[in-house]
Each structure stands twice: as structure tokens, then as C-alpha cells.
Symmetry: C2
Subunit: 197 residues, 2 copies
DNA sequence: TCTCCATCGGAACGAAACGTTTCGTTATAT
DNA sequence: ATATAACGAAACGTTTCGTTCCGATGGAGA
């Protein structure tokens, strides 16, 4: 969000105020947490950040772009465990994701992002790109297991990641983040072992 | 939406115009299909239905309520196949669901409903109830297979349904309804057979 | 038949948020 | 020192919201 801007710069003048953009991102998060997706307006964010609306519109072309930045800002610590056991890896991944969504504003923010993507094509594209990257990274868990000979050759790692992420996303969207560890483990076990007798 | 209204009625006067409410529901569906969730406004519906806004607000307290009515009006029975083979049953179920979403307005309407549920608690509750019912019905496919001894005793039928539905929902939400049959079959196969070597 | 009165479509309202423009100020590279 | 860029603040016109009037319509009770 700033690299290409800085590269295209060819003249003098004041630089972008990091103080201001930080305040805007913090205000956006606070508004989202306190008032929910319904009360999330650019005006409200500007008021709270003591910033001008043009400043927000200059750097974030749409509400979706701001939402995406807010989400990725606090998404530093996601576990991509490597225990040498694919079932354990996937379980820990899903478990930490659920915990993260429950204990931070991330869950609510991501819900808003998904909702926004149903109305705004720009948001949909941003979400699709993010989801594809996520599938690739989560798929590496499976690729490692495949290299160990733990997973069948015919399996598509990204499709496994897709299945696991879908399970988590729908639980988030339908307000079912309170599943216990045993349930999560059975879900992962279903994918790893199948359901056959 | 009309039973208690009719019961509370204690005086004379014109009755509710079925013609008008039908036109409103049809117009709402048309607007949703043509302009998407973003362009779905009460004003647009009223214009299209040649109805007054107060008439809409009188009978549908919120946009979510109108969406719910439109959705329930659209929804028809999905087939719950019974081929005697759980993999084939699940594949046909998912396949017909994708086709239904692609070829009718149901997919778009359901996307709007999911988006609305992230902002409106009433819509969220309605969605949760619908999803629970869906899991129970789809779970019967698995229960039948379990009775045939095709599926392990330890498997929770509703959780299998949950996994399959999650895969489908996320594909709908992220605009990936164009997966080919081979991909869908591999996804189902993943759940049935697992991914182990 | 005549009289209510609930409901209808239509027009207009204030409130809120939208996205944009303008203004004066502040900060920075040349 | 000067030119330039980003800033906060305010105002703009537009859109949609949900509500409130109004006259017309038509079915139930006297």
C-alpha cells in the first residue's frame, strides 16, 4: 500500500503521515468492534481518527480495501505447525484459527469482509486473491506430508486446504466458533482418514 | 406474516392486497437478480413493483425480512439421491446443488442472505435455523449409508453434512461455482476415502 | 344502499452517509 | 526560500433511508 506509491514519487513535498494512517486503521478497527459491520461508515472512521475523509479516500479506494488492511494488520501470528504428523498439523492449524477468531476482533472483521465481498466486486476480487494465497500456504502443510509419503499422490494439497478453510469459514459465518477440541479433531480426522468403515 | 395480522383484525375495511404483495416479492427477486445485492434497495423494489414504499414497510419490517421471504419463495426441493453408494450420493447432491445455484436466482439470493446475516441479528438467527435443518436432512444420506455398514460407527452424520455444505457454501461465496465434475468428485472422494497414502 | 375504515399508490419530508471539491495549514525535498 | 504534497476541516450535491401526509379504492357492517 506504500511501496509503489513511493516508487512513483518524482517530486518534492510532504510525505505520507504514518501517524495519520495508523490512527485511521486503529479507528476503523475500533468502530468495527464497537458498532459492528452495520455502523461501519467512512464518516464514522474519519470522526474517530480525527482525520479528513479525503485522506481516507486518497489511500483506500473502497471500504473493502480499508477492511482488508484492518484485517491483515492484526493477522500476524497464524500457526503453520510442523509436527511431522498431518492430522496433528491440521488440527493445530484449525484450533489456533478458531482461538484467534474468538479472542481477537479478527473474526468479526473477517465476517464483515466476507459480507462486503457479496456486494462490492472490488472486495470480492481482493477476497479471492487473499483466499488463493491462503490455500497455497495451508496447502504446504499437505505438501510436506506428501513428501514424507504420509499422503496419497493423487491428493491435491490445495483442495485439502480448501476443505479445511471452508469448514472454518462457515463456522465463523454461522456463529459456531465454540466447538470443542474433540469436535475439531473429529472434523480433521474425517478428512485425513475418510469416513469409510 | 399474515396469520396474526388477520387475527388482530377487529374492524371493517379493505383486506391486504395479495396482488400487491405478490408484485413486491416478484420485483424484489428481479431487482436482486438484475442488480445484485448492492443495488437492492426498498426504493428500487417499490419502483419496479409499482408499489408505494409505505406498503412495503407496513408488511416487511426490515430488508432482511423481505430477503427471507424472497428466498423461501424461491427455494424448491433439492434431490436427496439414494443410489446405495455414499460417494455417489454425496457427489450427486453437491453437483445438483451447484447446478441449482448456477441456473436459478437461488445462488445470488442465498449470497445476499448470508451477507445480510453478518449485519442483522434477525437474519443471522433465521440463517442458523435453516442451516441446522439442512444439516439434519443431508445427514440422513450418511445415516442410511451407516445403516448399510458402509460408514464407520464413529462418524457423526451431521458433521459429514456440515463438511460437505461448508465446501459448497464457500464456493458460492467466493464465486467458484464453475468447478467441473471431476473436481467435485475428488472433493467428495476426499471425505469418503480420506487423504492417507 | 350507504357509510366506515383499512389499505393502496404517490409525493414529500428530515436524517444520514455517500463521494467530491475547496480552503488554509503544515511538513519536506530541492 | 520556494515549490510541492499531504493534511484537517468544512461545505457541497446526491442517494437512500424510514416516516408522514394525502386522495382514491374497495370490502364489511348498518
Amino acid at each position: 500500500m506504500n511501496a509503489e506509491t513511493e516508487a512513483a514519487r518524482r517530486s518534492v513535498g510532504a510525505r505520507r503521515s504514518l501517524e495519520s494512517s495508523e490512527a485511521i486503521l486503529e479507528a476503523a478497527e475500533a468502530v468495527l468492534v464497537e458498532n459492528g459491520h452495520a455502523g461501519f461508515s467512512i464518516e464514522a472512521v474519519a470522526r474517530r481518527a480525527r482525520a479528513g475523509k479525503p485522506t481516507i479516500y486518497r489511500w483506500w479506494p473502497s471500504k473493502a480495501a480499508l477492511l482488508l488492511d484492518v484485517y491483515q494488520r492484526q493477522k500476524r501470528d497464524v500457526d503453520y505447525p510442523d509436527t511431522g504428523n498431518i492430522e496433528e498439523d491440521l488440527f493445530r492449524f484449525v484450533q489456533s484459527l478458531f482461538v484467534h477468531w474468538r479472542q481477537t476482533p479478527s473474526g468479526g472483521i473477517f465476517r464483515s469482509l466476507l459480507a462486503e465481498a457479496q456486494a462490492d466486486p472490488a472486495a470480492a476480487e481482493a477476497l479471492a486473491g487473499y483466499a488463493a494465497g491462503r490455500r497455497a500456504r495451508t496447502g504446504k502443510l499437505v505438501e510436506r506430508a506428501k513428501a514424507r509419503g504420509e499422503v496419497a499422490d493423487s491428493v491435491d494439497p490445495e483442495q485439502v486446504a480448501d476443505m479445511v478453510a471452508s469448514y472454518a469459514w462457515v463456522h465463523l459465518l454461522t456463529g459456531r466458533l465454540d466447538e470443542d477440541d474433540a469436535t475439531l479433531r473429529r472434523a480433521v480426522c474425517m478428512i485425513v482418514d475418510g469416513i469409510k468403515a
